[in-house]
Structures are given as structure tokens and as C-alpha cells.
């Protein structure tokens, strides 16, 4: 049982790490602000979700699990808001794209 849990953790966290990597590569390689933003938020939201999913079996209690999920939800909300703000600044001729 514990082996299955550990396996799931390893698979999900590794997948999450891959998405983080992809997001970072996108951030560095994509040509302008909007596409970079796209790569970053898509990959990070998924990556964070997968990492949280992988850690859920390791959370000792229901309380701990709920905390983990709320981290993901807060991350989603904050990420969406910040990327909206950045995109707006970029469109209005903010930091050079």
C-alpha cells in the first residue's frame, strides 16, 4: 500500500517538475511577453497541481491534505491575477516585450 502511494507521489511530482521545466524553458526562449506569460502560467499551474497531487498521499491527515489543496487554489488565483496585470501592462506599452 505504502509502495503504491510512494509510486504515485514519484510519478506525479516528476510530471510536475517536467511542467515546471517546460514553463521555465518557455519563459527563457519565447519571443515576447504574452507568449512567455502563456508558457509560464499554463505550465506552472499544471506543475503545481501535479506536485500537490503527488504530495496528497503523503499528507498525514485530512487537514494537511486540505491545506495542500488550498495552496494550489491560492496559487491559481494569484497566478491568474498577476498574469492579467502583466499582460495589461505589456499591451499598454509597459516593459519592452
Amino acid at each position: 500500500m505504502s509502495l503504491a502511494r510512494d509510486m504515485m507521489t514519484i510519478v506525479a511530482v516528476s510530471a510536475g517538475a517536467f511542467f515546471f521545466l517546460a514553463g521555465t524553458v518557455g519563459l527563457l526562449r519565447f519571443p515576447n511577453t504574452l507568449t512567455r506569460l502563456h508558457a509560464l502560467t499554463k505550465a506552472d499551474n499544471l506543475g503545481l497541481g501535479l506536485v500537490v497531487l503527488g504530495l496528497l498521499p503523503q499528507a498525514g491527515s485530512l487537514r494537511g491534505g486540505l491545506k495542500l489543496i488550498s495552496i494550489w487554489l491560492l496559487g491559481l488565483l494569484a497566478g491568474a491575477t498577476v498574469s492579467q496585470l502583466i499582460a495589461r501592462t505589456a499591451r499598454q506599452g509597459g516593459p519592452a516585450p
Binding site: L74, L77, A78, A80, T81, Q84, L85, R88, T89, G94, P95, A96
Partner: protein
């Protein structure tokens, strides 16, 4: 070498790398981004040093709001004249580098020469915690043992506001700080700016409330509230208040003002200035903190908004 040590060394190396990048990179905007990342990682160091209160402060004020401030300035100064001509010559830079490294080396030596066992006030702070009834020793130091520093620092915040406002042009005095933000009232940003603050305000108040016994407090909570308010302003849902508003002025002095009133109460009725009577210590401290969190949130938000730009009357 344990895993923890390896992690710490990697963390320190990344932080240092970011610090070097921040100083050395030619573009100002990149340097700013580097500094924001640096600030967030430094918060991790504070966690490793078992100073969660400071970690929260550093992340919220140092990294978060400070980052917003610097990024905003960098964006507005993008068209500033390239000052490359003023870059000092190589000899000067070499001298500065050598002398700075000497100072850093002297500092390293001083750190390694610090006495063992180190002097500490932790036992004294714990031994006297009964006087306030709060379990978080950092809050005790801030609000009771060194309350004078905390009160004066609130006045520093107020003076920063006065200083920033004094930079307004004369016709704009009394007006609203910062540019007016327009956004589609039915757009995604407006939606998020309605949704996120409801969560953020709860988190901010929780961090403030838990500060009595656990890491957290008025500074950290106030910084979160300030960022929520700014988000609503940036989404165009509300506007910054005019600086002549009496209510705003009152909120800005509420924290230090209540601190002073309680302090003078102690001077007249109790044992000493800023001494809390035993039975009332906890409610008094919490009362001051409630006033302080309002003041801090408003002050931090207005410091980010800048000088008054739009006149009310004209």
C-alpha cells in the same frame, strides 16, 4: 554532509548568483526582476534560520511590495537617458571592487570571531512573557519590550508618506495619488479583483490574528491587505482617496496615535510610559495592533501609489 546542509549551500549559491546578476546585469529592468527573485529566495533563508516572522515580513514587504515598487519605477524610467557615459572608469571600478571585498572579508572574519556560546535574550523574553499574555516572543518584543522602537517606526512610515506627498506639484495638492486605472468592468481582471481580495483579506486578518501566539502579526497582515487594496485599484474598481481626505489622514495616524494614547495612559495612571497593566495587557496590545494593521495597510498602499497627481477641485 546532511541533505539539509546541501540544500542550504545550494540555496545560498542561488541567492548569491541572483545578487551578482542584480548588480552586474546591464539592463535596469532585468536587475529589478533579479532583485525580486532574490527577495523571495531570501525569505526561504529566513525559514531555514527558524525566523518565520521575519520570513513572512521579508516575503510580503521586502520581496512582494518592494518588488512591485521597483518594477513600477523601472517601467516608468524605461525612457530615461542611457547613462552609460557616466559609468566610472575601470580603475575606479576595480578600486571599489577591491575595497568592497575587503569590507566583506572583514565582516566574515567578525562573524567567525563571534563568541561561543552566543549571548541571547531569548530566555529573558520567555521569562517575562507573562506580562503580556501573548505566546509569540517576537510580538512581545515588538509590542512590549521595545514598544518605543515600534512606535517611532510608525512615525517613520508617516514621514515617508509626508515626504512622498510633498513631491506633488502645487496644483495637484489634495488630489488623488497615482494614475487612474481603467479596466473593462466585466473583464477577467475585474472578476479576479473581486474574487481574490475576499480570500486575501481573510488570509491577511488571519496572519495578523495568529501573530499573538504564532508567527505573523500586523506588519505581515497589513502588507497583504495593502496588496489586495492595490489590486482593486489597479482593476479600476475603485480609486485612491484624495490626500486631503480627513478620514484617510485619520487612518494613517491611527496606529501611532493609539500607541501614544496608551503610552501616555501608562505614564499618567500606570507604572510607566508604554507599560500595560497586567489585566489589560493583551486587549490593549491587540487594540493597538488593530489600529496598526489599518495604518500599515493604508500607508504601504499609498507609498506604492506615489505622490498626488490628479487634482480634485481643478
Amino acid at each position: 554532509m546532511s541533505i539539509a546542509t546541501v540544500f542550504e549551500i545550494v540555496l545560498a549559491a542561488v541567492v548569491l548568483g541572483l545578487a551578482i546578476w542584480t548588480i552586474a546585469v546591464p539592463e535596469t529592468y532585468s536587475a529589478t526582476v533579479g532583485f525580486v527573485a532574490y527577495g523571495l529566495l531570501v525569505a526561504l533563508i529566513w525559514v531555514r534560520l527558524d525566523a518565520v516572522d521575519v520570513a513572512l515580513t521579508e516575503a510580503a514587504i521586502g520581496g512582494g511590495l518592494g518588488g512591485v515598487l521597483l518594477l513600477g519605477a523601472a517601467a516608468r524610467l524605461r525612457n530615461a537617458d542611457p547613462t552609460a557615459v557616466e559609468t566610472p572608469c575601470k580603475l575606479v571600478r576595480l578600486c571599489a571592487a577591491a575595497l568592497s571585498s575587503l569590507i566583506a572579508a572583514a565582516l566574515v572574519a567578525a562573524i567567525l570571531l563571534l563568541p561561543d556560546p552566543a549571548p541571547t535574550l531569548a530566555p529573558a523574553a520567555v521569562a517575562k512573557a507573562w506580562a503580556t499574555g501573548l505566546a509569540n516572543p517576537v510580538t512581545n518584543v515588538l509590542m512590549a519590550f521595545r514598544a518605543m522602537d515600534t512606535m517611532l517606526e510608525k512615525v517613520v512610515l508617516l514621514l515617508a508618506i509626508v515626504g512622498v506627498w510633498s513631491l506633488a506639484s502645487d496644483p495637484a495638492w489634495g488630489g488623488r495619488p497615482g494614475p487612474r486605472h481603467e479596466a473593462d468592468p466585466h473583464g477577467v481582471l475585474a472578476f479576479l479583483a473581486r474574487l481574490l481580495p475576499s480570500v486575501g483579506i481573510v488570509v491577511g486578518i488571519y496572519i495578523f490574528w495568529t501573530g499573538a501566539d504564532h508567527p505573523g502579526g500586523a506588519f505581515q497582515g497589513g502588507a497583504i491587505l495593502a496588496s489586495m487594496w492595490l489590486l482593486v485599484v489597479m482593476a479600476g474598481l475603485t480609486d485612491t482617496p484624495p490626500v486631503s481626505s480627513r478620514r484617510l489622514r485619520f487612518i494613517l495616524v491611527a496606529g501611532p496615535g493609539l500607541f501614544l494614547v496608551v503610552g501616555i495612559g501608562g505614564l499618567c495612571l500606570g507604572p510607566a510610559f508604554l507599560a500595560y497593566p497586567l489585566a489589560l495587557a493583551k486587549p490593549l496590545i491587540l487594540g493597538i495592533e488593530v489600529a496598526m494593521i489599518l495604518t500599515i495597510a493604508a500607508t504601504l498602499g499609498l507609498l506604492l501609489a506615489g505622490a498626488p497627481e490628479r487634482s480634485e477641485q481643478r
